[in-house]
Symmetry: C2
Subunit: 292 residues, 2 copies
């Protein structure tokens, strides 16, 4: 299975490599672990959204890459903290030991903290945009998407749902917060960089929002159906943990239909952008056909 854009993923990895601190000081253990957490692969969905969104407006690749890297650092931090023993207690991520297994729990907590902080440092740097208003809009957008009213709030709901089952609306809300807000921000970020019109930014958000839901459903389908070798992490865990997923609510077939519908809906939001949005259209296809 070919990833949706191997060349772009390599450029993103290179940028992340440049932006992550190197380990010369005594605290190199932190930097080593940050690099381990971020540079171990991953689909780079969010960076791809940022970059393909920026390309619609002919933004400079260097600026898109920095913004994409910041978003990916936040995603990586969230995985490190989610994997902790007191959270999802996962030993395996992308086919490798998780950070707290490879290093230790204290390091994993601090790695997450440092990655989150670095993301904001990158966005606030003038190399991300010469326009301070753009930089501050990026910071505000990322903070809203990642915080208590976004990703962290969703994670709280997800943990809570283990003992307090959510209904379908609750599950949708949990996923909108836990992954949807960050993916919507990734979709919009290229438009923020480009100072695009509010309607354009909103169309990108809605595209990414629907795409993100489709992506989440196919993720859950892979968990329900796949083997650990193919998917690269432990599978069947969601059901075992009584996790609230759309697949658990609707069943496999209806969930697959829902993903297809969401993917088409996502593509429809791109109509206004013409051919420049073709990479994002291809992503809509990829999301419902992927096998890892």
């Amino acid at each position: 299975m070919v990833d949706f854009n191997a060349m772009l993923a390599e450029a993103v990895d290179q940028e992340l490599d440049n932006l992550l601190p190197a380990g010369r000081e005594l605290e190199h253990r932190l930097f080593d672990a940050m690099r381990y957490a971020v540079l171990g692969g991953g689909k780079r969905l969010r960076p791809f959204l940022v970059i393909a969104g920026g390309e619609i407006f002919d933004m400079e690749m260097a600026q898109c890459l920095r913004t994409a890297a910041a978003v990916e650092l936040v995603h990586a931090y969230s995985l490190v903290h989610d994997d902790l023993p007191c959270m999802d207690d996962d030993d395996l991520r992308r086919g490798r030991p998780t950070v707290h297994v490879k290093f230790d729990e204290a390091t994993a907590v601090l790695v997450g903290d440092a990655l989150l902080t670095l993301a904001f440092e990158i966005l606030a740097d003038r190399r991300t945009s010469a326009d301070p208003e753009v930089r501050t809009n990026l910071v505000a957008g990322l903070a809203k998407a990642a915080g208590g009213h976004g990703m962290v709030g969703g994670q709280v709901l997800d943990l809570w749902a283990e003992n307090n089952p959510l209904d379908e609306a609750g599950t949708v809300r949990m996923q909108r917060l836990k992954t949807g807000e960050m993916i919507a921000f990734a979709g919009e970020a290229g438009g923020i960089l480009a100072r695009a019109r509010p309607q354009q930014r909103q169309a990108l958000r809605m595209f990414a929002h629907d795409l993100g839901l489709a992506f989440q459903i196919t993720d859950d389908l892979l968990d329900a159906e796949g083997s650990a070798v193919e998917v690269g992490k432990a599978t069947g865990k969601d059901a075992a943990a009584g996790k609230a997923t759309i697949v658990a609510k609707l069943g496999i077939e209806a969930a697959r239909d829902r993903a297809t519908l969401l993917s088409r809906q996502a593509a429809a939001h791109l109509d206004r952008f013409g051919d420049k949005a073709n990479p994002l259209r291809a992503l809509c296809e990829f999301v419902i056909t992927r096998s890892n």
Copy 2:
């Protein structure tokens, strides 16, 4: 013992109360725990530095309070994560159960994450400054002070030192990172808000840096000498954990002399600011005479 500025501390607490989300949603447990972590008292040293620094330049109190609150949220998050079982494993903070004891470990991890993120959201908001360049400078400054080359790096060194004793220079470096960079940023923040000249900002940084070291030493002296009732947290823990402190390196008397020297040095950096810096001068006195 009177705190250095009870009225100001009340204004800061009021601002924090306004800025922290209220618990209407399902994820209210997160917001409740964030409020518990932040609103339980504390000396508010960093907010005081921000506000008194801003007053030198006649900055609006509302802007200073928002900036001060952001800095305090980062401080509060660092305490919540530091107290975790996998880190310092503290059950008591400011005379109350720590967040992971009162709630649970997962909530404590997420509370820290949400507080850190909220701090950046507050700074990026135009209510903090109408000038986007100022907002982005605040974000950049806070991120540098709080991240892997600042507070988090210092925390890594501090944990590492438990099994790999630091020499005096290493201890000073650890404390500069762990608390010094954030305190220097708090000192400088009023100058950033005011677009003060670089030399003025540098003088404020150096003032706060020296003050922060003095504060750290008196903190360690209180830990070495005080009782838990007076200090409001478990005492004698540093020595028991083999923590690297200046007090452990120099002994109590020499450490006290060092704090006095640093306090005087701090005050000297304020000479250029005239009477407007009197609140900061009073703080230099307070730091070496405090008993909690």
